[in-house]
């Protein structure tokens, strides 16, 4: 077992850091009413990654690892394009914006399915970016991703007050900022796209929105405290999930285990909070 954990040693910091950063993104994007836009962006990242794979496999790339890394620009590029479309929809003065955004996501999902049906050789890559087999990340991929995530974490930490202001202006003042402007593309596009490329669509969406939505059930005042708790759950739950997955559920994909552990951990925090409040009220 120790040998198995040693093989995946570099996967732990990746899932932990990614989970914390995605939870941070989710808290802000949910506040800004961008949940459905995020779905389209993550789906666009999945589609973009696959399109680039097809181009590479049919032309120059011979090394799988090289092709895998080159999927990132495809993911980010398509994510930006889908983010742009979704931003245009959000700016429309229509009551049916949510339905339009949902329709955009469904179209992108259908395009992805069609692409995979037309290129059966891509089945394994599709599986990775859709369901996310985190355990297949190579050691070098994990090491480079850890470095990238530490850098992104530093940027996000440094700009946390500005991000909070953008969310506040959107939710409280009703002043919508340009999602693809200089203020929030890191949260809205780059991190979800990177997450989708590395961890898959399912895990990325879950890591973004499960901690913040479930923790919001535990009514507490303080946006900064809420975000901190989201990041903490986002950091710890995937670490526990990955350990459980490697130790007890090695025969099943890692992402669903991580997502379930994330949900259970967050619900646990909510229950403990509620009990604490009940005790303090009674005393």
């Amino acid at each position: 077992m120790i040998e198995l954990l040693a093989i995946y040693a570099w996967t732990f910091p990746v899932v932990g850091l990614m989970g914390a950063l995605l939870a941070f993104c989710g808290a802000h994007l949910a506040t800004q009413g961008r949940t459905l836009q995020s779905l389209s962006i993550a789906q666009g990242a999945e589609l973009g990654s696959l399109v680039l794979m097809i181009v590479l496999f049919s032309s120059v790339a011979s090394e799988i690892e090289l092709a895998s890394w080159i999927g990132i620009p495809g993911a980010v590029g398509f994510a930006f394009f889908c983010g742009f479309l979704a931003e245009k929809i959000l700016l429309l003065n229509l009551g049916s914006r949510s339905t339009l955004l949902f329709s955009l996501w469904i179209i992108l999902l259908a395009a992805t399915q069609l692409l995979v049906a037309l290129h059966p050789a891509l089945e394994s890559h599709f599986s990775r970016v859709a369901v996310g087999d985190i355990a297949t990340l190579t050691r070098s991929e994990s090491q480079i991703l850890t470095l990238i995530l530490i850098c992104l974490g530093g940027i996000v930490f440094g700009k946390r007050n500005q991000y909070l202001y953008v969310s506040f202006a959107d939710a409280v003042l009703g002043v919508r900022s340009n999602g693809l402007g200089f203020k929030i593309p890191l949260l809205l596009v780059f991190l979800p796209a990177l997450g989708t490329w590395a961890m898959g669509f399912l895990y990325t969406c879950a890591a973004m929105f499960i901690p913040t939505t479930l923790l919001s059930l535990s009514v507490r005042a303080g946006a900064r405290e809420h975000i901190f708790r989201c990041c903490l759950v986002g950091l710890l739950a995937p670490l526990i999930g990955l350990y459980l997955s490697l130790h007890y559920f090695s025969g099943v994909p890692t992402a669903p285990i991580l997502i379930l552990v994330c949900a259970i951990t967050t619900i646990g925090v909510v229950i403990v909070d509620s009990l604490k409040r009940l005790v303090s009220v009674q005393s």
Binding site: T31, G158, N161, Q162, F168, A171, V172, A221, G222, A223
Partner: protein
């Protein structure tokens, strides 16, 4: 029109276009630093749209605009939104976030703490700890105004219906704060206020620096010249 560096907004024959129709009768006005501009008019006359235009939003218009405020000088407070926020902002966080507009992150927390300690009694500690989602309209407005008037360092305030939801004591306190800002020699604040309420304190104390603007609604069938 003769202009100086003291002018914040100058326009002539100005009106905002809604489709091909002018929203209000052409307006010619010169606003200088340190003035309080009280924008009045019937519902739908274009008061909020004029503020949005001033907040650098792209709005089609007629007439000439020689000077308008720079985006970096503006604090725009739209009409209060009675919607719930996903993030559980406390009212103190809501106020303190106004300082985020122009400050570097390093200096932010220090300045917030210093300024929060200067908050007036009309926005007390008990109110500051409340969740935005649980607060009343008046408490929310107090938090926003406390942030806009005490923590922001912007020189042009665009306040849309700032007196909504406020009780009479808070209305007086608001006017006192606006007076303090406008009369202060350092910041030279100019305030544009959209309000249906009479701003008696401001109009009496400021006299020549109080400038009422009455927007006159035009019927939609009047075409642009």
């Amino acid at each position: 029109m003769s202009l100086t560096n003291e002018h914040v907004f100058c326009c002539s024959s100005f009106s905002i276009l809604l489709g091909s129709n002018q929203l209000f009768a052409p307006l010619s006005v010169k606003v200088e630093r340190g003035q309080v501009v009280h924008i009045m008019g019937d519902n739908g006359a274009g008061k909020s749209t004029l503020l949005r235009y001033l907040s650098t939003e792209n709005v089609r218009h007629t007439g000439e605009v020689a000077v308008r405020p720079a985006a970096s000088d503006i604090l725009y407070l739209p009409q209060i939104q009675l919607i719930r926020s996903h993030l559980p902002f406390t009212l103190e966080e809501v106020s303190s976030l106004f300082a985020c507009q122009s400050l570097q992150p390093g200096s932010l927390v220090k300045k917030q703490r210093r300024l929060l300690s200067e908050f007036p009694d009309w926005f007390n500690a008990e109110q500051r700890g409340k969740n935005w989602n649980d607060a009343s309209g008046g408490e929310r407005m107090r938090a926003l105004l406390a942030g806009a008037l005490r923590l922001s360092d912007r020189a042009v305030l665009l306040l849309d219906e700032p007196l909504n939801h406020l009780d009479s004591r808070a209305m007086e306190a608001f006017q006192d704060d606006v007076l303090r800002l406008v009369e202060s020699q350092g910041r030279r604040v100019t305030a544009f206020l959209v309000s249906h309420a009479p701003l008696e304190l401001l109009s009496v104390r400021l006299r020549s620096r109080y400038q009422p603007i009455l927007l006159q609604k035009l019927p939609p069938e009047v075409d642009m010249p």
